[in-house]
């Protein structure tokens, strides 16, 4: 029994147009590893940030259209047997008012880490979490092989083919962008032989692309990341290659080149192999709306989320689609089947692409013997569903494997709660690292601008700048150190952000307070810095004459700065202790500190410039 002969062949989307779903009455968005930054009742605009990532594996959520936030709380997930997950309900107001999108003009200067975080902030998802894994991006090791995965060979799936047919040029653009920033030695677009229309669309693009097209002929699970890497990576490349889904790559292109966050995706709604509609739907659209758009009713049908082999039943049609909802199958309702006992025919083992023994695995998984299941390599199961599809006894093999893996994952997560704290710490370090890189860049730019400006104004150059300059440096260093200390104080309590709504409100109020105080502190700091600069400028000629005389002046400056910094630190500490810590607050404090530091440095810089 060979797989290619028994699997129905891939069907091309053909000449059917890409539909667009009408605006739904309600959008349900999940927050996965993201913390909400809007309130219930607030009006939001299209593309507005609703939640930002608070861990390495989360992605930000943006408003797919303008409207009001109606609820924040647990929602059912489109995952079999998964617990409720925090989500948002957005009621569109039909105006579709959008924020203006600032496109990133100097994206080629982004580092891999900055790109990864920008994609995370734009809500672009990959297989798990952000499109580019942050841990990978932070390592910044040279990339040997980058595979863009457009292979679509699970029966019923068409979304990626449709995307390529419609947006081949945009996908090519996005790939060029990734190639430019990540600099892989080899950039490959993998596609299945049966996706004829998509291949033609790609071939019709200009020939001088920086990527190659790899046409895969292997049967079904060949589109899996692991299988694809095994098939395409040369031995020397296998250590450092990356495989990205084409839908994510397309979204990344929109995000980086056009500044557009990811708010929609293409979904295939299919009733039979040859009867399908492809539509672009906003993330969070209820499944029922998609069915209506395809001319079906959700009442008389059983719904399956996913393709023909991996799909699972959806309990109800109000669930919103998410970034991995590539396909919805609408089936006639059937009586629940009664599974027969395993007859040990061995068909599942002979078809399993990972060479597992599904019957043994099932025996242990259905008895909750997870340790034994791990011994039978549950971890290597790619959950392709082939074993379930051939089992004559119709045992729910895939379901039991999925459930067991989920339980293992949950146990793992519970076991290392401390890990979560480490996670968050790591995540913050990624952010700080990126911020540092960006700030250095910004400061360099500003310094260059100022240098140019000052060069024009420079009328009275003085020659005795050195002592003042070093003194100013010292002041800046002190201020920076204090700001850093304040920062550190800020970071400590921020271990467990809560999602309780009253606490959230308190946190938001505290944030505002903190922001006001920070602004005041900033103003004070700026004033102090300006005064210090002025004083330094006034002192400079005097200093040239008498070194002893500038000591009191310096002390004055120092004191002013120290006072400002302490004031700042106090304000932040007060803000931190007034509420359970929240990440926003942290971030704001960080920004305030950074700005104070920048101001101090600028003051110092001005001084030296003026002194020159």
């Amino acid at each position: 029994m060979s797989r290619p002969s028994i699997l129905p062949a891939h069907t091309d989307p053909g000449s059917q147009p890409l539909l667009t779903t009408p605006l739904p009455a309600q959008l349900r968005l999940w927050l996965q590893g993201a913390s909400c930054c809007v309130e219930v009742g607030q009006r939001v605009l299209k593309h507005q940030l609703l939640a930002e990532a608070d861990s390495e594996f989360g992605v930000a959520v943006h408003a797919p259209t303008s409207g009001h936030i109606r609820a924040i709380g647990p929602l059912p997930q489109a995952l079999p047997d998964a617990p409720l997950l925090d989500g948002l309900q957005l009621q569109p107001d039909g105006l579709d008012e959008a924020l203006s999108l600032p496109a990133e003009s100097n994206w080629p200067a982004l580092s891999a880490l900055a790109l990864a975080m920008r994609l995370q902030d734009m809500g672009v998802m990959g297989q798990h979490g952000p499109l580019l894994p942050l841990a990978w991006a932070a390592k910044a090791s040279p990339l040997a092989l980058l595979i863009i995965n457009a292979v679509e060979n699970e029966p019923f799936l068409q979304a990626d083919s449709m995307l390529l047919c419609e947006q081949a040029a945009a996908v090519a653009e996005a790939m060029a962008m990734l190639g430019r920033i990540l600099q892989p030695a080899r950039l490959v677009l993998a596609i299945q032989q049966e996706q004829g229309a998509a291949i033609n669309a790609l071939r019709s693009l200009a020939a001088d692309q920086c990527w190659q097209l790899e046409v895969i002929q292997a049967p079904y699970p060949a589109g899996d990341e692991a299988q694809l890497l095994r098939a395409l990576a040369r031995p020397e490349e296998s250590g450092n290659s990356l495989c990205l889904p084409v839908a994510g790559v397309h979204a990344a292109g929109r995000a980086i080149l056009h500044g557009e966050p990811c708010i929609s995706r293409i979904v295939t709604v299919s009733t039979a192999l040859k009867q399908s509609h492809n539509m672009r739907a906003l993330l969070g659209s209820p499944v029922a709306d998609l069915l209506t758009c395809a001319g079906l009713s959700s009442q008389q049908h059983a719904l399956v989320h996913g393709g023909g082999l991996r799909g699972f039943a959806l309990p109800d049609a109000t669930i919103g689609i998410h970034q991995h909802s590539h396909c919805l199958l609408v089936r006639p309702r059937q009586p629940a089947l009664t599974a027969q006992p395993c007859i040990r025919c061995g068909d599942c083992a002979s078809i399993c692409p990972s060479q597992l023994q599904p019957q043994e695995l099932y025996w242990h998984c259905s008895r909750q013997e997870l340790a034994q299941a791990q011994h039978w390599r549950l971890a290597d199961c790619s959950q392709c569903g082939l074993c379930s599809a051939v089992c004559p006894s119709q045992l729910p093999l895939l379901d039991s494997f999925r459930l067991a893996s989920q339980q293992l994952l949950l146990a793992e997560q519970q076991q290392c709660a401390a890990d979560a704290a480490r996670q968050r710490h790591r995540f913050r370090q990624f952010r700080l690292e990126r911020d540092k890189q960006e700030k250095a860049q910004r400061l360099a730019e500003r310094a260059a601008q100022q240098a140019a400006k000052l060069a024009q104004q420079a009328a009275e150059p003085t020659s005795h700048a050195e002592p003042t300059a070093t003194a100013a440096d010292k002041q800046a260093a002190i201020a920076a150190a204090m700001a850093r200390a304040a920062e550190r104080q800020q970071q400590r309590p921020a271990v467990a952000p809560s999602v309780n709504s009253s606490e959230r409100e308190a946190a938001i109020a505290a944030n505002r307070q903190a922001a006001i105080e920070a602004a005041m502190a900033r103003a004070a700091a700026r004033k102090a810095a300006q005064e210090a600069a002025k004083a330094a400028a006034a002192d400079a000629p005097a200093m040239a004459k008498d070194e002893d005389q500038n000591k009191p002046g310096l002390n004055q400056q120092q004191q002013a700065l120290i006072q400002a910094a302490m004031h700042r630190a106090n304000a932040q500490k007060a803000a931190a202790s007034s509420s359970p810590a929240s990440l926003d607050q942290d971030k704001k404090a960080l920004i305030a500190a950074a700005m104070a530091r920048a101001a101090a440095r600028k003051a110092a810089g001005d001084e030296t410039e003026q002194d020159k």
């Binding site: 029966p155 006992p341 007859i343 061995g346 083992a349 597992l356 569903g385 599809a389």
Partner: protein, 259 residues
């Protein structure tokens, strides 16, 4: 639990139906050879099998209709009546029902039975069988071979064990095993009993070994002792080897290399 949207292989019920279908030519030939009594035997064996199966299911507190619908009991009855064409009808009914109750239901239903009910039933009936060298039944054998090949073509025959058996029989031709090939019992047991999963090892390698061992045992018994009936001898060998199937599974089944 979810239904898989795409089924890539027939379900148990349809598998058993097709196995029955593959027996149709053989049934036709037997009816032609034995006349109406064969039909009576077939009908009563089937009734007895269904009765025994429902009794067993009720006793195990299982749903009766879904169990019967799988068609395993019917398949057992047809196989036994083909294997025992000259047995008296009551004997046939008794060994069919007994085998199903003792070897299938007592062990906990299809799949968990360690010994195949057909082989067991044949052995149960053996003491009362008329002695004497059974004649070679070439038409029946050919009909069975055709049915087996059809199953193979449909991808429903797990061919490793029958292949092992046939290989041994062919290799032993110089010793005088040729007459075995004319025995319809050999083909029946090879194509419909040895290809069953529950009483044989589960890995392909294990099955091949199982088939070869059964062939060697059977040939040594037939040539070294005076037992003339190849079917009964082979059934005994199969039962003997079924007991070792778990061991063979243990030896050949491994989680595989971790990746």
């Amino acid at each position: 639990m979810n239904t898989p949207v795409i089924r890539l292989a027939p379900t148990l019920a349809s598998r058993n139906r097709q196995q029955l279908l593959a027996l149709l030519p053989a049934i036709a030939i037997q009816l032609w050879q034995w006349g109406p009594p064969a039909l009576l035997a077939l009908a009563s064996a089937s009734a007895s099998a269904l009765l025994a199966d429902s009794l067993g299911l009720a006793w195990r507190r299982q749903a009766i209709w879904p169990g019967l619908r799988q068609g395993e009991a019917l398949l057992t009855a047809v196989l036994l009546s083909l294997l025992l064409p000259d047995a008296a009808v009551p004997l046939l009914c008794l060994c069919t029902g007994g085998a199903i109750l003792l070897l299938r239901q007592l062990f906990g239903g299809s799949g968990s039975s360690l010994f195949h009910p057909v082989a067991g039933g044949l052995l149960l009936a053996a003491p009362w069988l008329p002695a004497g060298l059974p004649h070679a039944d070439i038409p029946l054998s050919l009909a069975l071979l055709a049915g087996g090949l059809w199953l193979l073509w449909r991808g429903l025959l797990r061919w490793q064990a029958p292949l092992g058996l046939l290989l041994v029989v062919l290799i032993a031709l110089p010793v005088g095993s040729g007459w075995l090939l004319g025995q319809s019992a050999l083909w029946l047991l090879a194509g419909w009993v040895m290809s069953d999963g529950s009483a044989t090892p589960i890995t392909p390698r294990g099955r091949l070994v199982y088939g070869q061992a059964a062939g060697m045992l059977c040939i040594s018994f037939v040539t070294l002792t005076t037992q003339p009936d190849a079917g009964v001898t082979l059934a005994a060998c199969l039962l003997l080897l079924s007991a070792s199937a778990p061991l063979l599974d243990r030896l050949t089944l491994s989680p595989g290399p971790r990746t």
